[in-house]
């Protein structure tokens, strides 16, 4: 096209100008269409979030009452609350995180500080990343096979173990990423001062990466607090009050699952309340992790 213009023939030039204008118009039109579609896609994604949160507020908020937090689950038609489910969820989440976090932390440390380029290190990194996205229901089945079936039945502790397996890869990912961000000079400085390597890692690198590691732990808590599928085969759920770790234990997600699928209106109402509690708890943890701690990434 530029060749025709350079020939400088006026009629052709005018035609080319017109063509160029048309082309530019069609290009900018395409651009506008693509941009509009992408904006709508973003709007749709945000609308889904708004719709879910709106529904939870609409249907759950009216059911929030003191009895939800002070009474245990009761048979349909006789009121009751979610106390045992809330307490069970807290216990299992806390213990599961407490078991999984140190392991995940050490794996992350191994990957960032000790494994560079080794075959074992790459294998661990790969497997950990696969575990991160592996179906959580299979982790429940796994704990059922190795713990629940051979050692006398469903228990709160089995639930903690299942959650711990889910926590590990999440903590591994953030710990490794955060330790990688620590400049090598910092480690060299610590070693130059005569610190053994483990002290350099624990007192220099961990401290520098503290916010990031804490973010990972909070995200892990948020993730396992809402897990349902692995608990179905491990802690099973319990409609009575129980904090005995060797007995089936109630949890908020499993109770929501049981109640939401029931034909009783008051149970469904309680399920919405539970859904509201757990969602806002989980989202609050996420927001704290993202904004208050603000990892330097």
């Amino acid at each position: 096209m530029s060749a025709t213009i350079s020939r400088g023939q006026i009629p052709g030039g005018v035609r080319d100008m017109k063509m160029a204008e048309q082309l530019s118009r069609s290009r900018s039109r395409k651009n506008m269409i693509a941009k509009t579609l992408c904006m709508s896609a973003t709007a749709v994604a945000l609308a889904f979030l708004a719709a879910i949160l709106g529904t939870l507020f609409w249907l759950g908020f009216s059911g929030i009452h003191w009895s939800v937090f002070t009474q245990v689950t009761k048979p349909p038609g006789s009121g009751g609350g979610l106390l045992n489910a809330i307490v069970g969820s807290l216990i299992q989440t806390v213990i599961g995180t407490a078991i999984g976090t140190p392991i995940g932390l050490m794996v992350g440390t191994y990957l960032a500080e000790y494994s560079a380029g080794s075959v074992l290190g790459n294998a661990v990194r790969f497997v950990s990343d696969v575990l991160l996205s592996a179906p959580s229901i299979l982790i429940g089945l796994f704990i059922y096979e190795i713990f629940v079936a051979p050692f006398g039945g469903f228990s709160g502790f089995a639930g903690c173990l299942a959650l711990a397996v889910i926590v590990i890869p999440i903590v591994v990912r953030t710990t490794e990423d955060m330790l990688q961000l620590i400049p090598t000079a910092l480690r060299e400085a610590a070693v130059a001062l005569g610190a053994p390597k483990w002290k350099a890692v624990v007192f220099v690198c961990y401290r520098a990466a503290l916010n990031g590691i804490a973010t990972g732990i909070l995200l892990a808590i948020a993730r396992v607090a809402g897990e349902t599928a692995p608990l179905l085969f491990t802690s099973l759920g319990n409609l009575n009050w129980s904090v005995n770790m060797s007995e089936p234990m109630s949890s908020l997600p499993v109770t929501i699952y049981q109640y939401a699928g029931s034909p009783f209106d008051d149970w469904v109402q309680l399920a919405w309340v539970g859904a509201l509690l757990i969602t806002f708890g989980v989202l609050a943890l996420n927001i704290v992790a993202r904004f208050v701690l603000k990892p330097r990434s």
Partner: protein, 321 residues
């Protein structure tokens, strides 16, 4: 790379306690790493051993047998496998355009002050527990699908010659399409976040040169960003697929839970995860049914392991750097 620098400094005095401390710390770290490998192997092996009686009883037939008949002790995996794959693939088809649009908007179009809140909101969508998606789907999406969307599709597409069969049958609201829709909403943020991260890895100078010769935003995306990130984008989509394959709670609420392969997208079905969650309470320890469920779990693990492994392989190059 860091420890090679440290290891190469033999000048420091070797206190006995410090080298012992180093040894202990390194051993703990390494054993933790090995533990992760052990956990993964143990998952595979325990599911396989648990499913062995079913594999033995049915042989390769297990994979293609569409029956699930507890009364006659006949269990086949064909329907759950079909349901798992079809819902996951449909979910990808619905989620990818939305995820791509959001990622494009977030990296190229959104004003700076707007990026963080919108990005966070989309990440929060990923944080919502799956049971909530299931409940929301069951009480909100299913009625909408049953009252409006499915009748509309049946009226307008049901009579078409080739694809009509996909859009026929009674509009219950539940079924394959509804499950895929819920799954799509769930995996959208994962795909969008990965795409956004890989779009960010395109060197600015590439994009600036394209803008410099007069490209529009869309042309920069199509001709510069997408070709540069192609492999990682597919990796991100595979990651979403891996998530969709194993999702349990959201699907169990809305899929209809029937062991049947129907031609219509509105027909009920089941997935590996949903049948395991639903049938497990009625499967006594040691029964053939429990073994069949564990065998299904093993198959699901193999499928998602392959998908996730491909995804990791494709994402490795770009996201890491």
């Amino acid at each position: 790379m860091s420890q090679s620098a440290i290891a190469a400094s033999p000048a420091r005095p070797k206190g006995k306690s410090s080298s012992l401390g180093d040894l202990i710390f390194a051993t703990i770290a390494k054993s933790a790493g090995v533990l992760v490998l052990v956990i993964l192997s143990a998952i595979i092996i325990s599911l396989f051993i648990g499913g062995l009686p079913a594999f033995r009883a049915y042989g390769p037939n297990f994979l293609i047998n569409p029956d699930w008949d507890p009364v006659n002790q006949i269990f086949g995996a064909a329907v759950p496998i079909y349901g798992t794959l079809i819902t996951a693939v449909l979910a990808i088809v619905m989620a990818v355009p939305l995820a791509f649009g959001s990622a494009f908007y977030l990296t190229e179009m959104a004003p700076d002050w707007f990026r963080r809140p919108v990005g966070t909101a989309i990440e929060l969508l990923a944080a919502v527990p799956s049971i909530i998606y299931g409940m929301w789907g069951f009480f909100i999406v299913v009625p909408i699908m049953g009252d409006y969307i499915q009748p509309f599709l049946i009226d307008n597409l049901g009579d078409l010659p080739m694809i009509g069969a996909l859009f026929q049958g009674p509009a219950f609201g539940t079924g394959i399409l509804t499950s895929a829709l819920i799954l799509a909403i769930m995996i959208l943020p994962f795909i969008a976040a990965t795409m956004r991260d890989v779009f960010m890895t395109v060197p600015p100078v590439f994009k600036e040169s394209a803008y410099g010769v007069g490209c529009t935003t869309w042309e920069v995306m199509r001709s510069i960003v997408l070709p540069y990130t192609r492999v990682s984008v597919v990796g991100g989509i595979m990651l979403g697929l891996g998530r969709a394959l194993g999702e349990t709670m959201a699907v169990t609420f809305v899929i209809g839970n029937t062991n049947r392969i129907s031609t219509s997208l509105f027909g009920p079905g089941n997935t590996i995860a949903s049948i395991v969650a639903l049938e497990f309470p009625e499967s006594p320890a040691g029964s053939l049914k429990l073994s069949a469920l564990l065998a299904l779990g093993f198959l699901l693990f193999v499928i998602s392991f392959i998908v996730l492994a491909i995804s990791r392989f494709m994402l490795r190059t770009k996201v890491k750097s």
